[in-house]
Amino acid sequence: MTHGLWNLRVRIEGEIIKDVEPEMGYLHRGIEKISEDRHYNEIITLMDRTCYVAGLAWEHLFIVAAEQALHVTPPERAEYIRVLSAELQRIASHLMWYSAFVQDLGLMTPFLYGMRDRDLILDLFQSYTGGRLTYEYMRVGGVRSDLPLGFTQRCRQVVDWLMDRFVEYDQLCLSSTIFHERCDGLGVLLEPEAVAYGVTGPMLRSAGSHRDLRKDRPYSVYDKLQFQVATASTADVTGRYLVRMEEMRQSVRIVRQCLDWLDDHPGPVMAEHLPRWLGAPYAPMGNESYLLKRNYPTGVGLSMMEEPHGEAGAYVVNDGGEHPYRVKFRSPVLINIWAAKRYLPGYRVADIPPIMGSVDVCVGECDR
């Protein structure tokens, strides 16, 4: 397959798919195990590599669980910056999906359009995190640095430009008869089956479900933001396309609200009175007793988030120390891929690229 290091074993009769078996594990790096030996802020580095197209979303996921386990509360401005980052990351991730998906259909032009527009978001990320793919931006207790001057202005320009481009994308795909010939009614996974398989994210919402953790179990500041859950009713490849396109528009809406809030509410982006071992940038120096005496808290943290690919989960057990006792992640893509046993058989070999393309595979996150 074209979406990274994985194989799909397909049993066929003629052109018809009878059974499939995904083969995963080529990209397994043991991130959960490595995390047990690492400082919390060092695990952020691994989070960027977990899903390399949605690094900030996974940083957010882990950091919320870690903060629960460590009993740290970030300032509200940091929460808004995190949500802003997560939503920009969602757009970037969906643009990446769009590019890969249309290329599987043989469309080269929108592939380049998608990559071009994703670059604008990467430029934004670069301006405040310094990185374009692996950001290492969030910290326990907040974010590493505040947004640079003029960022909100630039970001507004970018999302305005993107809103116009979304229209262009739809024109290139939805108004093409061939696109509908290739995508309509393919890879159907109805809601009860999707739920039974644990499929989440755009794949579930394309089947008519309204499940979106940002609404159902609001985390961070999502309960203060206005947006709609994008859904479709066809449960097929076109439906997933529509859901992701609408999600990008809703993300732009959230980004604009975040920018407005951030403009009006300057403030700190790191929690105050963090213990020095958590790497607080402005921790008071010179107080040796503070350095020597380490009061490690204990606790358990669980975060479930609507990541671009689906519902991701992080579970952090902290038994007192600078690194967690155990970290466990739920990868949405792994589960979405395994449901291929249900939504692939019955279609043709040539339908595999659009159907698997519509899943939005990120192997780094499956294998961890």
């Binding site: 599987d104 043989g106 469309l107 080269m108 795909c173 093409s176 061939i178 290739r182 040539a350 339908d351």
Partner: protein, 376 residues
């Protein structure tokens, strides 16, 4: 228009060359060298060489044109670095491929493996000898030029399938079978669309077909046939949306997966040669060849080689259309492709034949009125 033809140019060159050469030899050889047969033979060779050079040059230019145009459609610049605006990029690419080792897989059949690209290239080149670029600028005017050109054009699936089978690779074989099925399926509507043109022009000779378009270009009465022909040509060229034999998401690179180096370059060049032939055929059959409508000022149509210039302009515009399609359409599925070919294109082509017949009938109506008086 001057009466200079490509053949007369070749003949003059041959005569001058042989005339100069003959002075070096004693009388009997001297006389034989400047005899008509020898000059004709050399003129034919020079003619073929000019044609070969022109078609190859045009093909490479066509690749550059496609890269630049596609780049602009995709909001990028295309080749920029070798030569002015990347004009020499394809020469550089060709040189690189030429220097590469040609590897034949151990299990591949040698004869089929070597024969296929060569034959594919040669059959694509032969067609150029048949296509009139302007008055007098083709190899010869046979009564059935168009038919012969299409017959040679349809050799391609055979050689593609041969190459795919000989490479002994399952993806190549699947690609080759797809390719053969696709090309054969789209031969039918193409030929039917051509029949419509032939009915209207009353000849299989391309020169005559162009001359018959002096009053109106055939695209207007035969718009349906043009659409069918363009679609069919897209399928014959295996370009998006009909590039299934090379669907990289499913089959690695299709039927030419195992070919590298110069053999790959042969396939690539032959593909673009065929694209050029397709565009030229569209211009010849539907867009009036080298002629321009009478309302165009004479200054634009009477300069030296005006026919060729306008012909090339039209050809590149038609190819630009193909590039535009490539930039904006997704790929369709094999079964959809075949369904489209047999269930949509063939009936449309048949309809366009009927339309052509009706146009001919309408043209003849005044004559029918005259028949009794002629008899009387």
């Amino acid at each position: 228009m001057s009466s200079v033809t490509l053949y007369s140019v070749a003949y003059s060159i041959a005569a001058i060359l042989l005339g100069g050469l003959a002075h070096l030899f004693p009388a009997p050889v001297h006389g034989w060298l400047i005899s008509g047969d020898v000059v004709t033979a050399l003129a034919t060779v020079i003619f073929a060489a000019i044609l070969l050079a022109a078609s190859m040059l045009n093909t490479i230019l066509l690749i550059w044109y496609e890269r630049k145009l596609l780049g602009r459609f995709m909001d990028r610049r295309g080749a920029m670095h070798v030569g002015y605006a990347g004009l020499l990029q394809n020469f550089a690419d060709g040189l690189k491929l030429f220097r590469k080792d040609t590897v034949r897989p151990g299990q591949a059949d040698p004869l089929g493996f070597w024969l296929s690209p060569t034959a594919y290239m040669v059959t694509s080149l032969v067609i150029f000898g048949l296509l009139p670029i302007s008055t007098g600028w083709n190899g010869g005017s046979l009564p059935l030029t168009l038919l012969l050109a299409l017959v040679i054009f349809s050799f391609a699936p055979l050689f593609i399938f041969l190459g795919a089978w000989a490479s002994n690779n399952k993806y190549s074989l699947i690609g080759g079978m797809r390719s053969a099925a696709q090309m054969i399926a789209y031969e039918v509507p193409i030929l039917l669309a051509v029949v419509a043109v032939v009915v209207l022009a009353g000849s299989f000779d391309l020169n005559t077909i162009v001359l018959e378009q002096r009053n109106y270009w055939f695209w207007a009465p035969l718009f349906l046939a043009l659409i069918v022909f363009l679609t069919g040509m897209l399928a014959e060229m295996e370009r998006i949306p009909f590039d299934l034999p090379e669907a990289e998401a499913e089959l690695v690179e299709g039927w030419n997966t195992e070919y590298g180096g110069m053999l790959f370059a042969f396939f690539m060049l032959a593909d673009y040669l065929r694209a050029l032939v397709g565009s030229i055929l569209v211009v010849l059959l539907f867009l009036g060849g080298w002629t321009l409508p009478s309302y165009i000022p004479a200054a634009l149509t009477s300069f030296p080689l005006a026919g060729i210039v306008w012909f090339m302009v039209k050809t590149y515009l038609v190819f630009g259309l193909f590039v535009w399609v490539r930039a904006s359409l997704p790929r369709i599925r094999t079964d959809q492709l075949l369904r489209l070919g047999w269930m949509r294109m063939v009936p449309l082509a048949l309809l366009s034949v009927i339309l052509a017949a009706l146009v001919v009938l309408a043209r003849c109506l005044p004559l029918i009125g005259c028949v009794p008086s002629m008899g009387g």
